[in-house]
């Protein structure tokens, strides 16, 4: 029998997260700070709207691009939140999570050999999706000294005449970095001059801390026509399991993406779409309450890290901190494994998010204060032992 599995797919390495998960899930009584999803339940009014839609027998397909009323609601939401203007008829596609939007977006844009700039450390799907779409991922390592922001120099150092797409993952998983308006202004002109197309993954846009709220790169002059904005309901409304996201971009691109989505997916889950309408209309307070809680935990975690003398730049977004553990003389993976084996605390090696994550670990604060304190006090004991030369 001939080999029947796609070799490009086979050639993709399993994610570093997966490897670490395999170890952690074998152990008992692990205190995890390793998840990438909210700990809050979906606010009840949203769940209730989902239940009601099922009671009403709304158990059929929707339009391929998503319910018209949902697209209209998304259009209103992004206008009031981010000053973005998108036509619900032609410029918005409702997808199965932000993940599908990223995949379909890349596949709708890339030709074989096109290069995609991927700022790292970052969420794990961009490079594999690029490869599967026939493109060539080009990692752009970001550095702690720039607070893991993307600079014009970073872009310039990696761009070639084959570069077509720039992935723009802010607020960032795993670093928690954000790009504020000034930061965006510094790269805007270069992106236009180089004629790059931007895929801006803004899934954490509602989870930013400090005085400035999220600014979408698409809202800057000259950017909307060359940007695909990805967003969704998972992080903002604690709706990961509902699998619902959306893509907003130029009508010609959304048209082609909708075609691909139609053949591959048909439409996003109907009940999730009805629940999402309620989320966009009536859950601002619930989102604000969750954001405040995340902010409290963020400050707590930063303080506890400071007390254990583990340097960490102050992240302003998402629900992660990305402390620098290089002073202990271990690789990220060694650090995490030893921490797991000796204290049963799970944090994720920075290298799971790209080579430039070496020397860092990702700590998620999508956990109760009590669990954060417990886990970090164990981590403190561990770092003290490391400093005394144990665990070597």
């Amino acid at each position: 029998m001939r080999k029947y599995i796609n070799s490009k797919l086979e050639g993709l390495a399993p994610s570093g997260i997966r490897r670490f998960f395999d170890i952690a899930s074998e152990m008992e009584h692990v205190i995890s700070l390793g998840v990438g999803e909210p700990d809050f339940d979906t606010p009840w009014k949203i769940r209730e709207a989902g239940i009601y839609s099922i009671e009403q027998g709304r158990t059929i397909y929707t339009a391929n691009a998503g319910l018209k009323s949902l697209r209209e609601e998304i259009s209103r939401y992004v206008r009031r939140k981010y000053d973005l203007t998108y036509d619900p008829q032609k410029e918005i596609l409702v997808t199965v999570g932000g993940s599908e939007a990223i995949d379909v977006g890349l596949r709708s844009i890339l030709e074989p050999g096109d290069e995609v700039l991927i700022p790292e450390p970052c969420f794990v799907c961009y490079a594999p999706c690029t490869v599967l779409a026939g493109g060539v991922p080009v990692p752009v390592p970001l550095s702690e000294k720039n607070e893991f922001k993307l600079t014009a120099e970073d872009i310039q150092a990696h761009v070639t005449d084959k570069t077509k797409v720039l992935i723009f993952p802010f607020p960032n998983n795993p670093t928690g970095a954000v790009m504020d308006r000034q930061d965006l202004e510094k790269v805007r002109q270069l992106i236009i001059d180089l004629d790059l197309f931007v895929i801006s993954d803004e899934i954490y846009s509602e989870l930013t801390y400090g005085t400035e709220r999220h600014v979408s790169i698409a809202s800057l002059p000259g950017m909307q026509e060359r940007t695909l904005v990805i967003n969704g309901f998972s992080k903002t409304f604690s709706m990961t399991g509902w699998r619902l996201g959306y893509a907003m971009g130029p009508a010609d691109l959304i048209k082609q993406m909708t075609k691909m989505h139609q053949y591959a997916i048909m439409c996003a889950p109907t009940l999730s779409q009805y629940a999402a309408i309620e989320a966009l209309r009536n859950a601002d307070q619930e989102v604000e309450d969750m954001r405040t809680e995340y902010d409290h935990r963020r400050r707590l975690v930063l303080k506890l890290l400071k007390e254990m003398d583990v340097p960490c730049f102050e992240p302003k977004g998402a629900f992660y901190v990305f402390p620098n553990i290089s002073r202990f003389g271990l690789t990220s993976e060694e650090f995490c494994q030893k921490l797991l084996y000796s204290k049963h605390v799970a944090v994720v090696p920075g290298t799971a998010f790209g080579d430039s994550g070496e020397g860092f670990v990702r700590i998620s604060y999508a956990y109760s204060m009590q669990q954060l304190k417990e886990a970090l006090s164990l981590m403190r004991a561990f770092t003290e032992e490391l400093a005394r030369g144990q665990h070597v």
Partner: protein, 160 residues
Amino acid sequence: MREEILRVMDRNARISVTDLAAILDASEDEISSEITKMEREKIIYGYHTMIDWDRTNDDHVLALIEVRVTPQRDQGFDAVAERIYRFEEVSSVYLMSGAFDLMVVVEGKTMKEVALFVARRLAVLDYVLSTSTNFVLKKYKENGMVLAEEKKDERIIVSA
């Protein structure tokens, strides 16, 4: 800052000053001096433990009593409210809008004890026109907390 402190303490009165300082990004001195001031100003007028008595060996009943009263010249409802809230058996008294005037919360060991209190002490007061006693049979949610709900973290232990 005050409202931030209060919002956190509203859900967890026992949070330490150290933790409050950490999560609100303030110094411990600032936090404790604000709390002391708010205690002095009666903004914080006490600390309460939320107890599910049904899980203990103690008998405990709770009754919400709707009371209609005649307001008095110059004093409105305040004088009669005071006559009522002075009783140790009474844990809360609220002046209400709607079909009755005072909501009186009474705690006791047995239904009989509460019923006798209403009959002998409350109903006979001057200016009290009528009482209607409603016993709490089961608490589902109190002070924003759902009772008897144990949540397990079912998320995948490590995810991207």
